[in-house]
């Protein structure tokens, strides 16, 4: 974007280019302090020795990663086997986050498409309507969701009054409850980027496809979807990544019966375990997974850019 602007080659643009590094300084400094330093601290902590009841001893140790990947039994003196506990917890979180992403996409794409195809003056109103529930704090929304879904809650009362079910559906304290919470929390992160992409889409392309005898399905899969793909991918990432680390929904709607990645890490810092290096190691492993995902995404984008160009 910036290079495109500078391509004009006017004198004032060149002045900007000179100053750009300096103008970007505040952003770089903020990023460094708020992102790089904490991540570096976590990386270092994950290789330190744990102090009993929280804290670290400044001695190099691989114990945290050992604990994550190797099972040495209840007393820590059996021969090492593969530790499935934490892999199971990670897998549960990934599965939940992936399901939430797919659900959000299934609802979010038609919603975004609908909004983007309204008359231009109406679109802001629709977007506004999508964002209204999100003015309320996430914690309060999740608690309210619990009131709606619980055994004696509004949803079950309604379904029973309608005669659709006899006994209440048990949703709270199950994985389905967690799923609903995640999906609901992050849905707008799916709708908004897709909306932005669809809004920029040139609908005469659809007409051209129709002129060339493409069916509506073919138009959707071969013309519209490739054009709005960056928005879809951005939406998926914006839903998947926060869902992965979420601990509000698992805590409140899942009853904290099973650790998710977020609650596992929280436990290391705030629970009895007080195992900071292990919490840091689990965070680093999560971060690595997310980074790999983002790199895949970036490569996809570069490829797409090349073929398009």
């Amino acid at each position: 974007m910036a290079t495109g602007a500078a391509g004009g080659g006017s004198a004032s643009m060149d002045t900007y280019r000179e100053a750009r590094n300096w103008l970007l300084m505040p952003a770089w400094v903020t990023l460094a302090i708020l992102v790089l330093v904490p991540v570096a601290m976590m990386l270092i902590y994950s290789f330190l020795t744990k102090e009993f009841r929280g804290g670290v001893i400044w001695e190099f140790s691989l114990a945290a990663y050992d604990q994550f990947f190797l099972d040495r039994g209840l007393f820590g003196d059996e021969p090492a086997r593969i530790e499935w506990t934490y892999i199971t917890i990670f897998w549960r979180s990934i599965w939940q986050a992936a399901t939430a992403t797919v659900l959000s996409l299934a609802i979010g794409f038609p919603t975004a498409y609908f909004i983007a195809t309204r008359p231009a003056r109406m679109r802001p109103i629709w977007v506004f309507l999508v964002t209204i529930p999100y003015w309320v704090n996430l914690l309060i929304r999740t608690v309210s969701m619990k009131f709606l879904l619980r055994d004696q809650g509004t949803l079950n009362d309604f379904l029973i009054a309608m005669g659709l079910i006899d006994t209440p559906l048990v949703i709270v304290n199950t994985n389905i409850g967690v799923q609903i919470g995640l999906f609901y929390s992050y849905l707008p992160f799916m709708v908004l980027p897709i909306y932005a992409a669809v809004e920029r889409y040139n609908f005469t392309l659809s007409e051209a496809a129709a002129d060339l005898y493409a069916s509506r399905t073919t138009t959707l899969t071969r013309v519209i979807l490739p054009a709005v793909k960056p928005g879809v991918l951005a939406g998926c990432i914006l839903v998947f990544v926060p869902s992965l680390g979420s601990f509000l929904a698992p805590d409140l709607l899942g009853g904290a019966r099973n650790f998710m990645i977020g609650s596992l890490i929280e436990e290391q810092f705030k629970g009895n375990a007080g195992n900071w290096p292990f919490g840091a190691a689990a965070s680093m492993i999560l971060l690595t997974l997310v980074l790999m995902l983002l790199l895949l995404f970036a490569r996809q984008q570069v490829k797409a850019g090349k073929t398009a160009g």
């Binding site: 009841r53 209840l74 055994d151 304290n173 601990f247 904290a256 009895n272 007080g274």
Partner: protein, 344 residues
């Protein structure tokens, strides 16, 4: 959720604490829902010291927050019995010199020299009580005075039990259930503890401390591990629940106001401690929180209903009340492993 709230309040506090002058402020780090606002207002009216309060939901969360940099931000916190010992060992508590508290003599003799804080050098009594469990009598009418209710529940209660999300409370109760000592280093006993909890978990709907009362009132849980005063409040809020004292025993506890190291408003902290040793104020607290006072001369000022409250009066067959013990590092490592197995 808890992390978020704590992080935001801590941030707000840090910026606030820097801005205000040290003369007129007191920063409390306290349990949630554990002090009536009228008491804080009264303290402010008497001393001119305004109170800022941040809350936590477990002793361990409080310890973690202090060790992660909270020390120096707060003046006082309210650790449970075993946590006072841990905090003192960690060097997180300041020492109250002789004569610094003019009302120290009001402490009830039986609480004046507890083993977790000999001579009360760091802390004063706040409230004491028990942690056991309560059962909804509309759901289950049988005998509830057994820890089987939690760990091997009757069919009516299966899948409808809320446990406190607290390793210490669950391990202590589970040890009572199995009849083994707390913090045992016996391998067979530890294996049995692990196996028993794994098996019991299928009957538990949730682990939650901060909604332990609400789930009983709403009927989401038919039985739940709970503190005695919380159970009394749930009953007053309309839940047909009965608080049980199992024949195997129950967990006893005492919370204490402890003076933190590097307290930014140490003078005001001592004023508050003195304030919380005045029988009249302790009575206000006790009538509201519905636990028991650790200060002499309070009983005459208490709501008469409290004395006969079923939650406060263990029946003749009740087992012993035991305090949570502090495990050695080795045993704690096994406890952590068992806890992870339980929640994986």
């Amino acid at each position: 959720m808890k992390i978020l709230i704590n992080a935001f309040t801590a941030l707000a506090l840090m910026t606030g604490a820097n801005a205000a002058t040290a003369d007129d402020r007191l920063v409390l780090y306290h349990w949630f829902e554990y002090i009536p606002q009228e008491l804080l207002d009264k303290f402010t009216a008497e001393t001119g010291v305004s109170v800022t309060m941040d809350t936590y939901d477990s002793n361990e969360a409080m310890l973690a927050s202090l060790k992660a940099g909270g020390i120096g931000t707060y003046d006082l916190s309210v650790p449970g019995d075993y946590m006072v010992a841990i905090m003192a060992n960690e060097g997180l508590l300041d020492t109250i010199a002789d004569g610094e508290l003019k009302n120290k003599g009001n402490i009830a003799p039986e609480w004046a020299n507890p083993n977790y804080d000999p001579g009360r050098r760091h802390s004063i009594p706040y409230q004491w009580g028990s942690t056991s469990f309560a059962v909804n009598r509309d759901v289950y009418g049988g005998d509830i005075n057994t820890t089987d209710i939690l760990f091997d529940p009757p069919a009516e209660l299966q899948g409808r039990i809320n446990m406190l999300d607290s390793q210490g409370e669950i391990m202590a109760m589970a040890s009572l259930h199995l009849g083994i000592p707390q913090c045992t280093s016996d391998r067979e006993q530890l294996k049995a503890l692990d196996a028993m909890l794994q098996d019991a978990k299928q009957h538990w709907a949730s682990f939650n401390s901060d909604t332990a009362k609400e789930v009983l009132v709403s009927g989401d849980a038919a039985a739940g591990q709970i503190y005695d005063g919380f159970a009394a409040k749930a009953r007053e809020e309309g839940a047909n629940i009965e608080y049980a004292y199992a024949t195997q025993g129950y967990v006893a506890w005492m919370d204490n106001i402890a003076l933190l190291r590097d307290a930014p408003n140490r003078e005001n902290a001592l004023k508050f401690m003195d304030f919380m040793l005045v029988p009249e104020n302790v009575a206000t607290l006790t009538n509201w929180a519905q636990y028991n006072p650790g200060v002499s001369g309070v009983s005459a000022l208490l709501d008469p209903a409290l004395a006969t409250q079923p939650e406060k009066n263990p029946h003749a067959d009740a087992g012993p009340g035991v305090f949570i013990e502090v495990c050695s590092e080795d045993v704690q490592a096994v406890y952590d492993q068992i806890w992870t197995n339980l929640k994986k």
